[in-house]
């Protein structure tokens, strides 16, 4: 199998702001390869360096050390107007003195493309984002969602090698955000352009991406497909940031891990103290007296089809189990009930710190 070519790559990128004692290391030795034509997401909490990485790729900042490569070529010191990379800004940054069509034409005109080509591309872009009737409006006369689409069309019009999107949906309300998520995915598939998408919303990342890089404190913690990241989190940070997770500490003898409550599970892990993670939906409730580890129901939270059971093991460890609500066929375990739980071996993840 041939590897997909790499569209953009960061090699040991470091970015510090400020000098001496007040210096902030926004990116600390970040290396990542983004493949051509993929929908790649940078996911992490606010302040972890996502925008900084995007700005290094766009050329608005130069790395303190390290390199940025586009199609294998070193572009670290190329100014933004010389990079075939466009950005959809969080604030949209539409030109207020230009109409919708003129905004979309801007990049093409700056590249000195022929008039006829500019007109044709603008028409195609207007159709792509379904804004034909708005072509001659000022951007201030548009709704948030429409402005968002103009920003997208403007950045896509020059057919960049890579499109950068910095939390483009965060200013929209929930319903519009869901619509735009689908729209963005469609645009990416129709144009085949590499998208680098920034978000702090894990659900958005999981539903839209081909691959995700989870970041925290200037580091990339894990890169992988949404399924990889969700089912095989590399460390405690990734496991807790993506979805809900139960953490169980224990001691490994190499092939078995003995948990705090004395129960043992057959998991291969390096000898010594280990942390295991398991998703709430993978915790099995064996029944009120059906065996397994004894646990007490501390509280229940009803979510409609699902119910979350907050359980306490015999050593006091808290475990959340998600199961179908009794009406949908789940076990009826009210507060205070004694239940038995089992932890399927293949659902248990051994975490590195």
């Amino acid at each position: 199998m041939t590897e997909t070519p790499i569209a953009i790559e960061a090699r040991n990128a470091v970015k510090s702001f400020g000098q001496g004692a007040v210096a902030v290391r926004a990116l600390d030795d970040v290396s990542v390869q983004i493949r051509r034509g993929e929908f790649f997401t940078l996911l992490g909490p606010s302040g972890c360096g996502k925008t900084t990485l995007l700005r290094l790729i766009a050329g608005f900042e130069t790395p303190t050390s390290g390199q940025i490569l586009l199609g294998g070529e070193d572009i670290t010191h190329l100014p933004p107007n010389k990079r075939p990379v466009n950005t959809v800004f969080q604030s949209y940054a539409l030109f207020p003195h230009l109409s919708v069509a003129q905004n979309i034409a801007f990049g093409l005109e700056m590249q000195n493309r022929p008039r006829a080509e500019v007109a044709a591309t603008v028409a195609r872009m207007l159709a792509l984002v379904q804004l034909e009737p708005m072509a001659n409006r000022k951007t201030s006369q548009l709704s948030g969602g429409q402005q968002q689409r103009v920003a997208l069309a403007r950045a896509l019009a020059p057919t960049p090698k890579v499109l950068l999107l910095d939390e483009p949906l965060s200013a929209l309300d929930l319903k519009l955000r869901k619509e735009m998520q689908i729209e963005l995915k469609r645009l990416q598939q129709e144009t085949g352009i590499t998208f680098v998408f920034v978000t702090h919303d894990q659900e958005e990342a999981l539903t839209m991406s081909d691959r995700i890089a989870v970041m925290s404190a200037g580091h990339i913690q894990q890169v992988g497909s949404p399924r990889d990241i969700y089912t095989r989190p590399a460390n405690r940070f990734v496991a807790s940031f993506i979805g809900e997770t139960n953490f169980l500490t224990g001691t490994s003898d190499g092939t078995r891990v003995v948990l705090g409550n004395g129960a043992a599970v057959d998991v291969t892990a390096p000898k010594g103290p280990v942390t295991l993670a398991i998703r709430p939906e993978q915790v099995r409730i064996a029944g009120v007296d059906g065996g397994g580890m004894p646990a007490t129901v501390a509280s229940t939270v009803y979510f409609g089809t699902d119910t979350h059971l907050h359980l306490t093991l015999s050593d006091g460890t808290a475990v959340v189990a998600r199961q179908q609500s009794p009406a949908a066929g789940g076990i009826d375990a009210p507060k205070g009930a004694q239940v038995g739980i089992t932890l399927p071996t293949d659902a248990l993840q051994v975490l590195g710190e």
């Binding site: 766009a58 107007n81 403007r154």
Partner: protein, 303 residues
């Protein structure tokens, strides 16, 4: 509606008018009164020792462009007047251009300082306003005259051996006016640049525009209202400038303002002075209209 209500309504309207009457009277007399007097004087006959004689006469208006030969009494084109008009327009346009060229970077600099420092820089810009115009102009004289600060320093540094003659030339007037009117350009430009969203610069660079094209295609069109306001605030008083050309231009390099003053003083031709004033007023208003129209035309997409 009952007739009582209509009456009450009418009474209210009447009392509103009565209340604003003092303001209206002041407006009419203070604003249009003097103008009407000037307009009337422009159609009268000059008195022997200044003042006017109340006889209808068009010679004030004709005198704008023509002069009467003192020997044979025939009318001929007044070259000297045309020179003065041309110099006034030329110097005012150049003053506007210079204040823009200096004022734009200045305003940009101030607008991009941290918020705390801006008040300080704006304060520096407005300091000259605190001093009398005449004193400021004499100070410029002190800098540029033959034995002034500039020439003595340059000679002392060995750059030149003879003083450069600037004083009492058009250049001197230009330097003086640019200095005096610079704040009037900087302040509206600052207000416009301050409102400018700096994130648009990155959007411009991102979309393949060079620095120069970002300036031309993004910054200038967006801060245009500030440019228009600044240009008007500089051009209009420049055209009517009196003190600066008088002090720095000497007697010879007159501008319209000095020429008008001359008619009311030594020239003893009040109707000509009045006609010149009215002409200046009309020319400025027409020029402004044309300028603002032309400046706003580009705004209209596909227009």
């Amino acid at each position: 509606m009952s007739s009582a209500e209509t009456k009450a309504e009418a009474a209210r309207t009447r009392s509103a008018w009565l209340l604003s009457l003092p303001a209206l009277v002041v407006l009419v007399f203070a604003a249009s009164g003097p103008l009407l007097i000037v307009l009337a004087y422009s159609f009268l006959t000059p008195g022997q020792y200044g003042n006017v004689v109340w006889d209808f006469d068009l010679s004030g208006w004709i005198g704008i462009l023509y002069t009467k030969d003192i020997f044979d009494g025939t009318w001929g084109l007044a070259d000297a007047h045309l020179t003065i008009f041309w110099r006034s327009v030329k110097l005012s346009l150049m003053t506007t251009a210079i204040t823009f060229a200096v004022g734009f970077p200045t305003a940009w600099f101030i607008a991009t300082r941290p918020a705390k420092q801006r008040a300080f820089w704006l304060f520096l810009i407005t300091i000259p306003f605190w001093t009398n115009l005449l004193i400021r102009t004499v100070a410029i004289n002190e800098v540029i005259r033959n034995e002034g600060l500039l020439n003595t320093s340059l000679i002392w540094l060995g750059v030149i051996s003879e003083p450069i003659r600037i004083i009492y030339t058009d250049t001197a007037v230009l330097i003086g006016m640019a200095y005096v009117y610079l704040p009037l350009m900087v302040l509206p430009l600052f207000a416009a640049i301050d409102r400018f969203d700096m994130r648009l610069l990155e959007a411009g660079y991102d979309l393949y525009a060079s620095r120069l094209r970002v300036l031309r295609r993004v910054i200038l069109p967006i801060v245009k209202p500030g440019i228009i306001a600044g240009s008007i605030l500089v051009f209009v008083p420049s055209l009517g400038a009196y003190v600066t050309p008088r002090v720095l231009g000497g007697g010879k390099n007159m501008m319209i303002g000095n020429f008008i003053e001359l008619q009311f003083g030594q020239g003893r031709n009040w109707p000509l002075g009045a006609a010149l004033s009215m002409t200046l007023l009309v020319v400025v208003m027409v020029a402004l209209l044309v300028y603002v129209r032309a400046a706003n035309k580009g705004d209209n997409p596909h227009g």
